[in-house]
C-alpha cells in the first residue's frame, strides 16, 4: 500500500539552504492498483526527465522534480497566475512491493511510477523428521 502524509497545500522546504527562496509544491497524484502493481501518476509540468530525483530509503519513496524559473529579458510580467517552483512528495511503501523493480517514466510533465507487487512466496510444505 501507499500512504502519504501531506495535504495539497504548498510546502516550504525548510531544509533548503540555498540563497534563493524557491517555492516547493506537492504534485497532484493519482494512485491506482492493477493486478501486478501500484501505479502513481504525478503532475509535474515543466520538469524534464533529467530534473527528477527519485530515491527510496527504508520505506519512504521520495520524488523531487526541479523546474527552472523562466527568465524573460526585455519582457515585463503583466499577468501571473502560475507560481513557479519545484515539486516534491514522499510516499510510504509497504513490504508488498518489489523495490528492485520500481520504474519511472516522465512524459508531458507527468511522472508515472510503477511499483510492482512482490511475488508472493510459494506456499511451502515443511517436512517433519522423526527424532
Amino acid at each position: 500500500m501507499i500512504q502519504n502524509d501531506t495535504s495539497l497545500e504548498k510546502t516550504t522546504q525548510t531544509q533548503d539552504k540555498s540563497a534563493t527562496r524557491h517555492a516547493v509544491f506537492m504534485p497532484r497524484a493519482d494512485i491506482y492498483e492493477t493486478k501486478d502493481a501500484l501505479v502513481v501518476l504525478a503532475d509535474m509540468p515543466g520538469v524534464d526527465e533529467h530534473a527528477v530525483d527519485i530515491s527510496l530509503e527504508k520505506d519512504e519513496l521520495s520524488v523531487r522534480g526541479s523546474v527552472k524559473v523562466p527568465s524573460f529579458d526585455n519582457q515585463r510580467l503583466t499577468h501571473e497566475e502560475y507560481a513557479v517552483g519545484d515539486f516534491a512528495r514522499s510516499f510510504t511503501i509497504g513490504n508488498d512491493i518489489d523495490r528492485a523493480n520500481i520504474s519511472a517514466t516522465l512524459k508531458n510533465g507527468v511522472l508515472k511510477l510503477v511499483l510492482p507487487k512482490a511475488q508472493k512466496a510459494l506456499a511451502q510444505k515443511i517436512a517433519v523428521k522423526g527424532e
Binding site: 493519482d30 491506482y32 492498483e33 493486478k35 503532475d43 520538469v47
Partner: protein
C-alpha cells in the same frame, strides 16, 4: 482515467479531460509571426504584436 477489470483507484487528485481557455489580448496579434511550443506539459505561446498596433509617436508641428 479508465480502469480495466481488476483495477482499483486508491487516490484521485488529478483532473482529466481537455483544457480550454480563451484569453483577450491587450493588442492585436499577428498570427503569421506568432508561435506555440508544448514541452514537458507546458504550453508557451509567443504572440507577436501586429504592426498596426505598435505604439506610435505623434509629431507636434509648430504653428
Amino acid at each position: 482515467m479508465k480502469l480495466n477489470e481488476g483495477e482499483s483507484l486508491h487516490r484521485s487528485e488529478r483532473q482529466s479531460g481537455s483544457f480550454v481557455r480563451s484569453i483577450k489580448l491587450p493588442f492585436r496579434a499577428d498570427a503569421d509571426k506568432s508561435s506555440a511550443q508544448f514541452k514537458h506539459g507546458l504550453l508557451t505561446l509567443t504572440l507577436s504584436r501586429a504592426e498596426a498596433d505598435l505604439p506610435r509617436k505623434i509629431a507636434v508641428k509648430a504653428e
